[in-house]
């Protein structure tokens, strides 16, 4: 437990600034989504879109859900579900490929 679980023991992040980032990235995402595939191939477009979505997820989780300041145990609870999620997706994809 390196980090405190108390709200008052850390300085609150600038929530409005994070919101501005979230909106800005969303606008960029929509822009990238509309670029014709002849200009931006999907092999570039899709990872770009996923990367921007990933940054937004991290911003919300770290600052709005306070994972950056809260106990690591909460993060662990969330991470614990990830291997099962990956296995689930792999099983579905493998089933689809074999079909």
């Amino acid at each position: 437990m390196e980090h405190s679980t108390s709200h008052t023991e850390h300085k609150s992040p600038n929530y409005v600034l994070i919101f501005v980032w979230l909106i800005g990235i969303t606008a960029a995402e929509v822009g990238v989504g509309y670029i014709p595939n002849t200009v931006l191939p999907t092999i570039v477009q899709y990872p770009l879109l996923l990367g921007m979505a990933g940054i937004k997820v991290l911003l919300v989780a770290l600052y709005y859900m306070h994972l950056r300041y809260d106990s690591r145990w909460f993060l662990l609870a969330m991470i614990a579900s990830m291997p099962l999620s990956v296995m689930f997706i792999l099983a579905l994809v493998l089933g689809y490929v074999r079909k």
């Binding site: 979230l22 909106i23 509309y34 477009q45």
Partner: protein, 263 residues
């Protein structure tokens, strides 16, 4: 773990009174889903299940509001319980998203043209949901600073924004139906409406939860020492927001018609 144990000991632990309302709610949910799975009696049994569910939920919420106790849940235990619940939700949505992506891979090319056409509307809806996340975190911040007026204002704004999101999703659905994309038309439509509809249900539940938190705030149930109810609700709402961030990208922006000019 020492800090966690220390903080838990300092908190007042309130155990809610025995209640049969969760059982009524669960029974209603069972009848509702059972009715939806039926072929012949669906139109009769589903509304009955919905009615039982609404009565159970109403009774449950009323009993919580009537308690008027400052805290129901120890802060750390409540937060950990919510994180574990959210971890189970990750698995739930993983299944739905994976199913959607696989069914889309099998769909006829161009079937998602209607979705591309709705991107401007959905972008606006995404902005609304992101704004609601801001109001939730600001209400949490207000509760931690014992700013009662701001707490109530931001909770009210969250309800308004959440309701707007769901209403606009309903409008989008009606447009998609007119364009020929329906729940029962093909696998793609089924997967799309199940995935986004499930998210919509989560937002609806969040709105109800926020209303309960607001009522408790109006009763003076939160202060700078005791605001776990706002914090735990916030975790749920932000998670629903995160799911939408992913759905917006995966369902709308990364589809087979993306990059094509919208008619």
């Amino acid at each position: 773990m020492s800090e966690m144990t220390h903080e838990t000991h300092e908190e007042h632990i309130h155990i809610p009174e025995n209640s049969f309302w969760p059982l009524v709610f669960g029974g209603g949910m069972f009848v509702l889903l059972f009715g939806m799975a039926l072929r012949d009696y669906r139109m009769f049994i589903t509304p009955v299940g919905l009615l039982i569910l609404v009565v159970g939920l109403g009774g449950w919420i009323t009993s919580i509001v009537r308690e008027k106790v400052p805290s129901i849940t120890p802060r750390i235990a409540g937060k950990m319980a919510m994180w574990v619940f959210l971890a189970s939700e990750v698995l739930f949505f993983t299944g739905l998203i994976a199913s959607f992506l696989l069914l889309r891979a099998e769909a006829v090319p161009g079937v998602d043209h209607a979705l591309v056409a709705s991107i401007p509307l959905v972008s606006l809806n995404t902005f609304i949901l992101l704004t609601s996340s801001l109001t939730v975190v600001l209400s949490h911040d207000a509760a931690a600073r014992n700013l009662q007026g701001r707490l109530k204002l931001f909770l009210l704004l969250t309800i308004v924004l959440g309701t707007t999101f769901v209403s606009m999703q309903g409008f989008e659905y009606s447009t998609l139906y007119r364009e020929g994309l329906s729940w029962t038309g093909n696998g793609y439509g089924t997967a799309f409406f199940t995935l986004t509809g499930t998210h919509g249900w989560h937002v609806l539940i969040g709105i109800l939860w926020c209303a309960v938190v607001l009522i408790r705030a109006l009763q003076g149930g939160f202060n700078d020492k005791n605001y776990s109810g706002v914090e735990i609700f916030g975790l749920y709402w932000h998670f629903v927001d995160i799911v939408w961030i992913l759905l917006f990208t995966l369902v709308y922006l990364m589809n087979t018609s993306a990059g094509l000019p919208v008619k």
